[in-house]
């Protein structure tokens, strides 16, 4: 063995596993992305920038790009405005019921925004509940066009209400990380409360803020479900979705996907520059354990008012969905005039609804199994073994965090067409793999945290007493990291159940529709379609709420880490 090889733990088994992992990532991540790039830049005549030029010069396309960028910026701005006061109040003050409020803030995450869109549409329509209520109260004489302006603001509102918890988690973590002694020093130098925030606290929070802002921006920029339901088609995500069907005639789809990738990479590069610059490195922390201080009565009231107010706003779409799902008769009235539970029964008898639930259960279970196996293996190699290309493996496993589902799904359809995996023939394999790849980072992180918390000496003690490495893994390591694996698996499973863009793009035939695509399809049908869709949405909401609750019990305070880049 040469000396550089000796630095690694390359047993035949390790090597085989590594080769398998590399092949997996190459085939299901790098190849589809490469394929998209190739088609965006190469025509029959060779390399060409014609599609790029077209995208940036044709007014049809530039307006689409501009809409998406504006959408992303607006959502980022409003989530910031909403989350900053929340973070300041909840991180800096202690008061009764703080834990409860903290939980309340996270609730909006449990509803995929495109399901919320159904409820929102119901409430904000021309003759929806809000207008009717205001008319009844005599506040207005004419119905207000809430969703006017091409429905842009409708999409913004829904995405803001869905995404502000993510922004909040990042801001709260950033704020909690600011060394209290740095602030005390500024106070000591005579800074007022406001000056202190502006000159010390905010600058120190900036890296954490950018981490959250970028996730929110990319999410809004690439969200497919919400604009689709609001029929706001002039955005990149919807365009890509409709171009999937005629990939071979219109290569502009590739160009748009490349634009999304480029933008995503640019933002992540930016965040690494800001986060990795080290300029904000905290030096020597003071001995102050917590920066939180008891809140005065007025601050407590304010905190409750702000949190309850925002939560009430955020729950409006949920309320809309719920009302729709139990509507027996609802016509030109603020609230339904008759209620029924019929549609919940229909979910389990309606052909498409029932089929889609079965499909989703199968697809999500398979993808979760893949996630557990791959995630544990990767985390084990990263945490316990010295393997060549460790950093690249780590980066590849985390890449899906930065990779919009839209991009991956588009790449799959394109790259694997006319192969045995062709999504238009049978989308099941690619759906399973897409779900698995998208949620792999959660599983790797969960398992890696488990390995890190478990001292190597516990494994060595078993080996020393005669347990083989495999036995050690099963009898010592696995039981010890079990909680982490369950938490990771629960999250992977429930997110897969409610995955939107992969499902919409990849599931080509009705017999393979997963829940989300079935909801979308049902919404388009008149008669009872929207009601059954709403009932399905409510069930999905309960599933996601339940799994986040379980995962939260396992992860505790570190839950927020899962939603940071």
């Amino acid at each position: 063995m040469t000396s550089w090889l000796r630095r690694y733990d390359l047993t035949p088994a390790n090597t085989a596993v590594l080769i398998f992992l590399w092949l997996f990532f190459i085939v299901f991540m790098l190849y589809p992305l490469g394929y998209v790039f190739t088609n965006a830049f190469f025509t029959a005549e060779g390399f060409s920038l014609i599609f790029m030029k077209l995208m940036f010069s044709s007014p049809n396309y530039t307006i689409i790009l501009a809409n998406s960028v504006n959408l992303g910026l607006a959502v980022t701005l409003f989530t910031t405005l909403l989350s900053l006061p929340l973070a300041l109040l909840l991180v800096r003050y202690n008061f009764r019921g703080k834990g409860l409020l903290n939980g309340l803030i996270l609730i909006p995450m449990v509803l995929p925004p495109f399901v919320g869109a159904i409820g929102m549409r119901q409430l904000l329509a021309r003759f929806g509940s809000v207008n009717l209520l205001l008319l009844e109260l005599g506040v207005i004489n004419q119905p207000i066009d809430w969703l006017g302006g091409g429905n842009f603001w409708g999409v913004v509102i829904l995405e803001v209400l869905h995404l502000y918890p993510i922004m909040y988690l990042n801001l709260a973590a950033a704020l909690a990380n600011v060394d209290p002694s740095l602030e005390e020093a500024a106070r000591n130098m005579g800074a007022s409360s406001f000056k202190l925030l502006r000159t010390v606290t905010f600058p120190l929070m900036l890296p954490g803020y950018f981490a959250g802002a970028i996730i929110v921006f990319i999410w809004a920029f690439t969200d497919l479900g919400t604009p689709l339901i609001f029929e706001y088609r002039e955005v990149v995500a919807v365009q890509i979705f409709s171009m999937v069907t005629d990939l071979h005639q219109n290569p502009m789809g590739y160009a748009f996907v490349v634009a999304v990738i480029a933008l995503t990479l640019f933002f992540f590069y930016l965040s690494k520059r800001i986060l990795g610059g080290g300029r904000y490195e905290m030096l020597g922390r003071g001995h102050v354990t917590s920066a939180a201080r008891p809140a005065s009565a007025s601050i407590t009231v304010m905190a409750y008012a702000v949190v309850l107010g925002i939560s009430a706003l955020a729950l409006i779409p949920h309320l809309g969905v719920f009302l729709t799902s139990v509507t027996g008769r609802w016509f030109l009235s603020v609230l339904p005039s008759e209620y029924t539970t019929k549609f919940y029964k229909d979910v389990f008898s309606h052909d498409l609804a029932l089929l889609s639930i079965k499909n989703s259960l199968l697809l999500s279970s398979l993808s979760t199994i893949i996630d557990v196996v791959l995630g544990v293996t990767i985390a084990y190699l990263l945490a316990r073994k010295r393997v060549p290309g460790r950093n690249v493996l780590d980066a590849l496993a985390m890449l899906p965090l930065a990779l919009p589902g839209l991009v991956l799904a588009f790449g799959y359809v394109a790259a694997f067409s006319a192969t045995p995996l062709d999504a238009r023939v049978n989308p099941v394999p690619l759906l399973v793999i897409a779900y698995a790849v998208r949620r792999l980072p959660y599983m790797v992180r969960a398992a890696y945290a488990g390995f890190q918390q478990t001292s190597v000496a516990l494994e060595e003690a078993a080996i020393n007493l005669g347990a083989s490495p495999i036995k050690t893994l099963y009898q010592i390591t696995m039981p010890l990291i079990f909680a982490n694996l369950i938490a990771g698996a629960v999250l992977s499973f429930s997110f897969a159940m409610l995955e939107v863009s992969d499902s919409l793009i990849l599931a080509s035939k009705e017999q393979y529709y997963p829940i989300t695509k079935a909801i979308y399809a049902l919404l388009g049908r008149i008669a009872d379609g929207p009601y059954i869709a709403s009932a399905m949405g409510m069930l999905g909401l309960l599933l996601l709420a339940g799994s986040l609750f379980i995962a939260g019990r396992f992860f505790g305070r570190r839950m927020g880490e899962l939603f940071r880049a």
């Binding site: 001292s455 516990l458 003690a461 080996i463």
Partner: protein, 368 residues
Amino acid sequence: MTVSVKFDSVTKILGQARAVDNLTLDIGGGELFFLLGPSGCGKTTALRMVAGFYTPDEGRILFNGQDQSHVPPHKRNTGMVFQNYALWPHMDVQSNVAYGLKMRRVSEADKKKRVRQALEIVHMQAYAERMPNQLSGGQQQRIALARALVIEPDVVLLDEPLSNLDAKLRVEMRTHIKDIHREIGRTMIYVTHDQAEALSMADRIAVMRRGRLVQAGTPHELYTRPESAFVAEFIGGTNLLRGTLEEVGELLTVKTQAGIVRGKTGVNGMARGEPVFCSVRPESLRLRPAAESSATPPSGATNELIAEVQSIMYLGDNELYSLRLADSAIVRAVEHNPITRKAEVGDRLALEFDAQAVVVLPQEELSD
């Protein structure tokens, strides 16, 4: 039958560093053998190679003459006590202790009996059904010991087993472990950075520094006949007086700035004019008022230096003196059972010490 362990020119490279550098050691069957040295000296790496967690990059590890270098750790039959105990938190005490027996497919009845015996040896019978997190540090330590002993290992490996205990318990456990060793008579290799632990317990000690073996011997040999200033300083603490070697003979004569010092040495090949250290233990120094000293000039077998008292620390059974020599070097002296105080700060005293108590050693870099 007891098992001897041999390190045969063993080298282990970790990262860029030679963590263990050409180590050769013979550890006799049934010996309580210590690997002693400051942190980073390679002692734990050496121990882990015996357990099989590391494979030597060069050289071999032999048990009773059989090469073990490539035997995987779970097939070596060593019993290791880890520094942080490494008790599995998801198993109760008896499952922890029984684990090695389960791996060896020992029958259920036999297993029960041996677990009970092992717990008796460490006085923990009453705790069989506790979970590790319900035990104190000292109790966890005993369970870790029982777990290692119950498999009747060829070699017991102890990696700083007492370092996480409080001072009083540590001293108690020294006696306990030594008793257990006498009782079971197995080869034990014990890693520590605490020289008092090594001196009080070991049959033999190997002092390591920067991956290399510095000196091996019985505690008495290391204390009285150190072969380097590092060992003299590390084991027990000493005063090192800088000087130049003047004469080599039955006794060596060293010229220091504070005066002439005579002593013996265990090191061969030191030449006249060489810079040396004279190592004198604090307890070898006798203090007398300086006035008396001028009356009787020092004979060849006794050294005498004049010093001024810098500070005095009263410890009850001892009194520690810090004294300044003529060249302003500081030496430490110990007065045992101090009934009346011999001097006050600022007094000038004569330090008297036998030439037999002085070890002349080559000068070397001491800070690690």
